[in-house]
Symmetry: C2
């Protein structure tokens, strides 16, 4: 049920992004934008669609912010993979954008994907009322910028350049920005579209985001490159502090499971209707268990 | 009168951006964001403030989109200067961001400046009504993305990699994206804030943008690096087609002057109240005459 639902959402997001990019000129940078958005699980887009569904917002509206967050997420991956950042050759099992094209195309495609995210989220078709409302754009800008995702990336970069490993509080703050901010925005989007209090979704998302990062750290130790579609073991190689290096493998797994339980509990106001979001939380750590 | 007005606008934009960045954590990436936004003429911000003034929109509201466009412009310069793009060491007479910090900081600072632009333009304080309206964000996203500025940059990049120089139509299309899109958005912003037809401002801005690019090409031939605060003569060195290489120096100067005249004429519905915008158009080519 959940698995089909996730695959269906990813297909809907991919098709919608495709149709949007079809309205662009056929340039290498546009081709690279499409390439960068394909092949992912679209977990963030799924969170948008599910939180919208919980609030009775039809998918025809929610697909716009769902695609927006996937465009912004894709931009962050394209820039993260650059030689001056994480210098990765593989992403989702395929060459990264700067390896398939070149660095300039990767910079521009990332830049344009960020702009596309804001274009989609500012589209009046986001809102059942057809209003041109900026609350989605405003919250997305805050989540993506130097107080959100970019802040987390900057803290990560600073950490890599020092010999003093981060402690648990620092790594948690880093994660809250780097991966947490967009996940929170995604889960809250449905409440924002319906103009209701997003508090239960915020509580859910913050725990989900942290569990997601812990699971990622576990996979960096236990996963293999073929399964992950990207290089693994890079953190340990770099002597980087992770939830696994700080907590140990068993305690990290336990913590991730606790967070998922808390995330699921936070959705109690939605009762059974939030089963898909609970399944999403369990899914996030399933690959690392 | 115009000169003081331009300097005053630049100071107002700088002070407002400073106060916004003061709300961020003191990280190198935030320092780099401030650095990248300082020292420019803030011509785009000036266009926003003047077009708002023409429509009776108080500066307290217009300062938000004025700062937004300067943040987006600054992001484009930071990324343009990267080694994989134009590889420039100097900008506004100072080391470029990747020279003063490093490439990763330049990528992140540019990314965060783009997000900041969308944050500012989505702020309800943009609008005298206090509404959270997305029309500014939507139009800015279109102007900045792969159908606007990034498209122009991508065409520019493609042109540099081929031995066939661009013709006049191609170089005009390139310019319309690369520098024209943000200039048009800036000039239209006041009409958008006031919810009136921007047509005269659009006509003004399209001519201004083209004149601006021709003047830039002239300065690349005739200017010196000290005056420009950046490297000159790079286009000729690279055998790149410019308005000067295609038209010749004298005809390029004449064409720029014609465009400025047409830009001024387009403002006739505003009569004398648009004198500052006319002076801005004359200013844009004055340095190349």
């Amino acid at each position: 049920m959940f698995a089909e639902s996730l695959v269906g959402a990813a297909a809907a997001v991919a098709a919608h992004l495709e149709s949007v990019l079809d309205e662009h000129d056929a340039l290498p940078v546009v081709e690279a934008m499409g390439y960068a958005t394909r092949g992912g699980k679209a977990l963030r887009g799924y969170l948008v669609l599910e939180s919208a569904r919980l609030h009775g917002v039809p998918e025809g509206h929610a697909i716009w912010p769902a695609c927006a967050i996937e465009a912004v997420h894709a931009y962050s991956l394209v820039h993260d993979d650059l030689p001056c950042m994480d210098d990765d050759d593989l992403r989702r099992g395929l060459p990264t954008v700067h390896r398939k094209w070149d660095e300039a195309t990767a910079v521009l495609a990332g830049d344009a994907l960020q702009a596309l995210g804001f274009e989609l989220v500012s589209d009046p078709r986001c809102h059942p009322s057809g209003e041109v409302r900026a609350d989605l754009a405003l919250s997305l800008a805050r989540a993506a910028g130097a107080r959100g995702m970019v802040k987390g990336q900057a803290l990560d970069m600073a950490a890599e350049r020092t010999d003093v490993p981060l402690d648990l509080a620092q790594i948690t703050a880093l994660q809250a920005g780097k991966t947490g901010a967009l996940i929170r925005w995604s889960a809250e989007a449905g409440a924002r579209l319906a103009e209701v209090d997003p508090a239960p979704l915020t509580a859910y998302a913050d725990r989900l985001g942290l569990a997601f990062q812990i699971a990622d750290d576990i996979l960096d130790v236990e996963g293999d490159a073929a399964m992950m579609g990207k290089a693994v073991g890079k953190d340990a190689e770099r002597g980087k502090a992770t939830f696994v290096s700080l907590l140990g493998l068993d305690a990290a797994k336990l913590r991730a499971q606790q967070l998922v339980d808390e995330a699921c509990d936070a959705l109690s106001p939605y009762a059974d209707r939030a089963e898909n979001l609970r399944a999403a939380a369990r899914f996030v750590i399933s690959r690392s268990n």
